[in-house]
């Protein structure tokens, strides 16, 4: 696969490490307690279709990306810096 890195353009997926559901950006406040964290730690979406997921450009610029990918077709609909997503509050 080719990942459209927002700063570096198309880069081969070999350079990346996959983490999974971008919901991991939404770490609960400690006040959410064990129940809130249990959801965060253990429950992930794994849809057959469009999915927002985290990829780490480990063999590149070390950016974490939020990649929107159709898991059925592997079509990639977009990629953003996770930092921007988090700061923009759109995760």
């Amino acid at each position: 696969m080719l990942i459209p890195h927002p700063l570096l353009g198309l880069r081969d997926a070999q350079e990346f490490t996959y983490l999974g559901d971008a919901a991991l950006l939404n770490r609960p406040d400690p006040a959410a307690g064990e129940a809130g964290f249990a959801d965060y730690v253990y429950l992930r979406d794994n849809p057959a279709g469009v999915h927002r997921e985290l990829w780490f450009h480990e063999q590149g610029d070390r950016s974490w990306l939020v990649v929107t990918r159709n898991t059925l077709t592997h079509e990639i609909l977009g990629a953003e810096l996770a930092r921007d997503v988090k700061l923009g509050g759109t995760a």
Partner: protein, 189 residues
């Protein structure tokens, strides 16, 4: 001055060197590397007027060069010790800039061609999964060389530099020599 004798990354006091056809590989032991980081999104510093380039790029200035390593991060290269010291001072005094000396963190092998760009291009095809425009002159990027994470700098059409973690110098040297030597029979066939 210390009386300890420094050792090249390949375990020899003198820089390692090898030639394969049109390609010459030389360990660059004189290179000093200074990592500069700022908070992403803040303006890049200009230590001693040195331009710190954008993503995927390498730029050469007076007595030093710099390349982008990540958002808000660059590596500055120089082989002039006094200049390195002045650069360090300039970075320390730049607001928000952080310095980490990386001179000993990396081994650098300079690959030059005496037959123009073709042998360098052929070598790159066997080493990195990057398009020719991503490794065109003036570009630098971290990528995978086979299984080894490296930084590839295209200093000129006929000049490539490859940086690998210093501890992996032997593997890098083996990889570069083996790949370069395989270009020789192909070129003469």
């Amino acid at each position: 001055m210390t009386d300890l004798i420094p050792m090249g990354a390949l375990g020899t006091p003198d820089p390692a060197r090898a030639s394969h056809g049109a390609l010459t590989l030389t360990e660059n032991t004189a290179l000093m590397l200074i990592s500069v980081a700022t908070r992403p999104g803040t303006p890049a510093p200009h230590p001693l007027g040195l331009h710190l380039p954008g993503p995927g790029l390498w730029s050469q200035g007076q007595g030093a060069a710099a390349f982008w390593t990540g958002p808000g991060q660059w590596m500055i290269e120089t082989d002039v010790p006094d200049h390195a010291e002045r650069l360090r001072d300039a970075i320390r005094s730049a607001p928000g800039a952080r310095l980490t000396d990386q001179s000993d963190g990396w081994v650098c092998v300079e690959v030059t061609s005496d037959a123009g760009p073709a042998p360098i291009r052929a070598l790159l095809e066997r080493l990195v999964n990057l398009s020719p425009d991503q490794v065109a002159p003036g570009h630098a990027t971290r990528t995978l060389l086979h299984h080894l994470g490296c930084i590839v700098i295209r200093r000129a059409e006929d000049h490539l530099a490859v940086l690998a973690p210093r501890s992996a110098a032997g593997s890098l040297w083996h990889l570069l020599r083996e790949t370069a030597s395989r270009q020789v029979p192909a070129a003469t066939a």
